[in-house]
């Protein structure tokens, strides 16, 4: 055994050997690694510390870069950490910081080792321990080692002290009570003259203040001093970040820091500091006009810079400004619009956000036009970003900015046809939502839906499915606005619809049902009118709008020749689209056609007025749906069976012979009309939006436990995703949504059978071609999509950019409300519950403890010296202790009592003011000058602002009492006035 150990240590591979071996790749990487792991497992058990540590080093290398597990070696890590040799100790500590985490059991064993190393005289050993602690300090470790950290916070070695400061963050986070011990020392370090210490401590405060800014308000004077004095960019950036969080809490503070920040902005050459100044001004000091002006000026330098990073950040800064200072964007609109076609994706995205932020009800049409054109030319990713942001912006708070819904609905249709469009779900939701909310938009909605449904090229694109489903639903639900329901039916039942997933097809079938019922109904309505007088009135009334040829058509229609009738469809369609949707037979039909609204076009009446056409319609539906009765999709099967059975029912009443139009037919009509009316009634109720809070208003039945743990159900429900829209789909669509996920697995056989149907149908088409849509569309439209627009060359792009700028020039400018716009239609809004309730994140328990502790130390009475502190203060040398007391007496002592006594607070103000004054007399003077100039616009506060600071002190106290609400929990010294 001893022999093998000796062999191990003599012939052990070092880390370098391992790396070389890995690179040679003689036996393949994974084989090599597993061989090396075998060696490591053996070597790490060695009694020789050198062998053990080398093995551990190799292990942590493999762990870090090759993902090899090393949790099993935790105990060996502890062993190597405790080695007395620095090289080995370092390997151990490195392995620990890499692999230990809070749940590592051996952490319990290392407290003493860490304590020993933290108190070591070798600063590098201390540094190792501190590094490690900053990674995995647990509550226990933080508590047990707080005294050592406390000592190190005032170490005379900068190297150690800065790392101790770095560790404090983790210690505070884990063990908030450490604040009571260490906070004062930490604050003392803010006065250090060493830039490295200052940088470290400011970094820690920056992190702390970002979590809970209010607690650190009392330290504002310290930070202010650093802001005014420091020349170190790193330190300044961190202080600015602190002030960014503090300033919104305290208006006086904001007023005070504006001056030094603008000074830095003017002076600095470092872009990082300049950007931080800009960011601070635009986020937290946006009320100060001069500062904002300067910030925008500097931002412009960023925007025109060649460095894409600066350009991006510049745009980002502008986007923060938008809500309060939209002029800043307008001033730079040219750059912003040009950036939309930048090569850099970040820049493009940021400028898109900016443009969207500028959208208002006046310019939404123009901006969307520009953007949709841009989307057509963009790469897929950016194209969808554009579409997504258009949809989000326009749909915001129930389409607040949309006035012309006809335009918007057409835009939705246009967006669906953009080749790269992947926003099917959003478009689907909006199409349906608008249908339910905006009555006036329904006619356009139906015509947009028709255009989508009728285009066979759109079928087969999986991203279009959702949109088509919405289009089908809309067309079925609001079919009364359709000019040509027959055409709609064809589109819904076209053979290529077998490319759709069953869930969408089910919607198609349901819509076809609705359309059919509508056709039947309008046929019945017409039959109720005496057919002879019908044609007469047609001739008389229609003399203005109907040409002689049409009259011929109408009489041909009466003769009911089937083939003629088919021609009708062809002949009437173009006319229907040319003619304004005016009712030709308005006089006669108004009383009877209750549901058919005024915009029903003439061609529909003509089509449906013939029994032949109705029979043909039924035949067509039967024929198209026939194959579906073998569908493997339950929903589809059921719906098509429903429809087919209904047709069978009707058929018994309608004589097959096409010539028996009179007499017997009329009697039967009465039967049919009863059935049709019944179904029509079922369809006639309008769907409306449902508040998302509706559920909450339902009283909870007794005995129902809503909070019951239903975790077990998660597994079952995981594949059923419920959409969280603000409306419900009513029965039919809701079901469709659910089964879309359940039944989405397509069964291979179905595609086979549908192939068969396709060929069957094409035969059918040959025979009855007239009944189909124009052949160039349906006939052999391939699966291919219209080729995506390719990206143009850069120069063309630039041209495009120029064009874009021109186009957008007008639209971005804030125009006066256009007067000619038509009145905005009524949009159904629910009083509440259209927006999702915003839940505020509650701070975590640990955070609360931390801020409580900080407040106690800063504001409360004397921080109670805990046992560890008294323990500690007796340990270090007398000199240090004395120094500590001295320090405590000076600034932090007064800070303790800040909140309690006004008098004392003004004393404190005095000291801090004097200090600031001494350090930066120039700044102080400038500040007072600034104040004088501000006097003009702040007349009511005039008396409180005097040029003499000494004088101002008393006034400051007054103003603190009277005008300015003092923060309830923390108090900021009045030096700021």
């Amino acid at each position: 055994m001893a022999g093998s150990s000796l062999m191990d240590s003599l012939f052990q591979r070092t880390l370098d050997d391992l790396i070389k071996g890995l690179r040679l790749q003689l036996i393949g990487e994974s084989a090599f690694i597993s061989k090396a792991m075998d060696e490591i497992r053996r070597e790490i058990k060695s009694t020789d510390p050198q062998t053990k540590s080398t093995a551990l080093q190799k292990l942590s290398y493999l762990n870090s870069l090759h993902g090899i597990d090393m949790n099993w070696a935790a105990f060996h890590v502890v062993e190597v950490m405790s080695s007395s040799r620095f090289a080995q100790k370092k390997i151990g500590y490195h392995a620990a910081s890499q692999s230990f985490h809070e749940a590592t059991p051996v952490l319990l064993l290392i407290t003493n080792q860490l304590r020993k190393d933290l108190t070591s005289t070798n600063e590098f050993e201390v540094s190792l321990a501190l590094d490690c602690l900053s990674r995995f300090a647990t509550v226990d470790l933080a508590r047990d080692l707080t005294p050592e950290i406390f000592t190190l916070l005032s170490s005379s070695k900068v190297f150690v002290r800065k790392k101790a400061i770095g560790v404090v963050l983790r210690v505070f986070g884990k063990y908030p009570d450490a604040v009571r011990v260490c906070f004062k020392r930490l604050v003392e370090n803010l006065e250090s003259s060493d830039p490295r210490i200052l940088s470290a401590v400011v970094g820690v405060f920056c992190e702390l203040a970002s979590q809970d800014p209010r607690s650190y308000l009392p330290l504002a004077p310290e930070f202010y001093r650093i802001l005014a004095d420091s020349k170190n960019n790193w330190v300044l950036i961190k202080v600015l970040k602190i002030f960014k969080n503090l300033a919104p809490l305290e208006p006086r503070l904001a007023r005070k820091i504006v001056e030094p920040i603008t000074e830095h902005m003017r002076r600095t050459g470092a872009k990082s500091l300049l950007f931080e100044c800009i960011r601070t001004v635009v986020t937290s000091l946006s009320d100060f006009e001069t500062a904002v002006r300067l910030a925008v000026e500097k931002t412009r330098e960023f925007l025109v810079d060649d460095d894409p990073n600066l350009k991006y950040l510049g745009l980002h800064a502008l986007s923060i400004l938008v809500p309060k200072h939209s002029w800043a964007v307008l001033e730079n609109k040219e750059v912003v619009i040009k950036s939309l076609s930048d090569v850099d994706p970040n820049v493009k995205l940021e400028s898109l956000r900016l443009v969207m932020a500028m959208v208002s009800d006046n310019n939404v049409t123009e901006i969307c036009r520009v953007l949709v054109n841009l989307a057509l030319k963009s790469d897929p990713e950016f194209c969808n970003e554009i579409l997504g942001s258009i949809l989000a912006t326009c749909g915001e708070s129930v389409y607040e900015i949309i006035i012309d819904f006809d335009w918007y609905v057409s835009l939705l249709g246009e967006m669906s046809r953009i080749p790269y469009c992947r926003k099917g779900e959003e478009i689907e939701n909006q199409l349906i939502d608008i249908g339910m909310r905006v009555k006036d938009a329904r006619p356009t909605l139906v015509s947009v839906g028709r255009d989508l449904l009728i285009d066979p090229a759109l079928l087969g694109n999986p991203f279009m499915d959702r949109i088509l489903s919405a289009a089908a639903w809309v067309s079925g639900e609001y079919v009364q606005f359709s000019g040509k329901p027959f055409e709609l039916l064809e589109a819904l039942l076209q053979p290529r619809s077998n490319l759709l997933p069953p869930s969408v097809r089910a919607v198609y079938v349901q819509s076809a049902f609705k359309v059919m019922i509508f056709c039947l109904n309008s046929y019945i309505q017409e039959q109720n009118i005496d057919s002879s007088s019908y044609i007469d009135t047609l001739v008389e009334n229609g003399s203005e709008s109907i040409s002689a040829r049409e009259c011929q058509d109408a009489s041909a229609l009466a003769s009911c020749d089937v083939s003629d009738q088919f021609e009708q469809v062809e002949v009437f369609n173009p006319r229907g689209s040319n003619q304004p949707p005016k009712v030709t037979f308005a006089e006669n039909d108004r009383e009877t056609l209750t549901r058919v609204q005024t915009c029903t076009s003439a061609s529909l009446e003509d089509n449906s007025s013939s029994l032949g056409s109705i029979v043909e319609l039924l035949n067509f539906i039967q024929f198209s749906l026939g194959p579906l009765t073998w569908s493997h999709d339950v929903e589809l099967l059921e719906r098509s069976r429903n429809l087919l059975n209904f047709i069978d029912l009707i058929r018994q009443q309608i004589p097959d012979g096409l010539n028996e139009k009179d007499g017997s037919a009329e009697r039967e009509l009465a039967e049919i009309s009863k059935i049709v009316e019944l179904i029509l009634d079922a369809f006639s109720d309008d769907f409306g939006p449902v508040s998302i809070n509706a559920q909450e208003r339902v009283p909870i039945p007794e005995g129902l436990i809503l909070k019951e743990n239903l975790d077990d159900l998660k597994m079952i429900c995981s594949d059923i995703e419920l959409s969280e829209g603000s409306y419900s789909f009513g029965n039919s669509l809701y079901e469709e949504k659910v089964d879309s996920s359940i039944l989405s697995q397509q069964i291979p056989q179905e595609s086979e059978s549908s192939n068969a149907t396709t060929s069957l149908l094409s035969e059918h088409r040959k025979r009855h071609g007239l009944y189909y849509l124009p052949s160039d569309k349906t006939d052999d439209a391939s699966n291919d999509y219209p080729p995506a627009n390719e990206l143009k060359e850069q120069d063309i792009l630039d041209d495009d950019a120029a064009h874009l700028v021109k186009l957008a020039e007008r639209s971005l400018a804030m125009k006066k409300k256009s007067t000619s716009a038509k009145p905005r239609p009524v949009v159904v809004r629910l009083d509440e519950g259209d927006e999702l309730p915003v839940t505020r994140k509650k701070p975590q328990l640990n955070d609360e403890q931390l801020s409580d502790a900080v407040r106690d130390v800063l504001v409360g009475s004397d921080a109670r010296p805990t046992s560890s502190q008294t323990d500690q203060s007796s340990k270090p040398s007398n000199r240090r202790k004395g120094k500590e007391k001295q320090n405590a007496g000076n600034p932090s002592d007064s800070k303790e009592n800040l909140g309690n006594v006004e008098e004392q607070s003004s004393n404190m103000v005095d000291t801090s003011l004097r200090r600031t004054h001494r350090h930066h007399g120039k700044d102080g003077k400038q500040a007072s000058l600034e104040k004088n100039s501000e006097k003009k616009d702040q007349t009511h506060k005039k008396s409180k602002r005097t040029s003499s600071q000494r004088h101002g002190r008393h006034k400051a106290k007054q103003s603190g009492d009277t005008s300015l609400p003092v923060a309830s929990q923390t108090v900021i010294p009045d030096f700021l006035l």
């Binding site: 370092k90 970040k241 894409p308």
Partner: protein, 170 residues
């Protein structure tokens, strides 16, 4: 606070990775892969910022720099300045990480990083500790790193003086 420092080559092989909030090793590998997935598709001469919230969770930003065959990646939260982070890797006014590596290895290249794994860690630990940037002067970093390697060789070569060594800087 800095969350992570990753150096990888242009083929996606990690050369160095450090995560300042603990991540299990599988997660580390996954994060590195997703970062590479984003970086490799980016063109040259575009900005150095990458949307990172989808990879690293909320409040995280990512900057990277591309040198020859290497990507240097920094992930951090809103307490850091983006441009300063770029400077921390390498920048016009200040250049910490790359400059130190250059000083250390005389024109650093990928192979230097491959064979000096431990030294890389020593260097980075001097610059960043617990996610906080503690040193931005490359000469200070060099000084500390040299002291550490002296100490390492000393403790390795002299077997019995380890105690004296630890008192050496006393």
């Amino acid at each position: 606070m800095i969350r992570s420092v990753i150096v990888m080559n242009t083929e996606g092989k990690p050369r160095f990775a450090k995560f300042y909030d603990f991540q299990p090793i599988e997660k580390q590998q996954e994060l590195i892969r997703s970062v590479y997935g984003v970086l490799c598709s980016r063109a040259e001469n575009v900005s150095n910022f990458v949307e990172a919230e989808s990879i690293f969770g909320s409040d995280s930003r990512l900057v990277y720099k591309h040198f020859a065959t290497l990507y240097f990646v920094l992930v951090f939260n809103s307490s850091e300045n983006e441009l300063a982070m770029l400077d921390l890797i390498q920048g016009p006014t200040l250049s910490v990480f790359v400059e130190t590596l250059d000083k250390c290895f005389k024109n650093v290249c990928e192979l230097d990083l491959v064979f000096n794994y431990s030294k890389m860690h020593s260097i980075l630990d001097e610059i960043i500790s617990g996610g906080q940037v503690l040193e931005t002067s490359s000469s200070e970093v060099m000084k500390a790193v040299e002291e550490i390697s002296k100490l390492e060789t000393a403790s390795n070569s002299i077997n019995f003086v380890s105690k004296t060594v630890s008192g050496w800087r006393g």
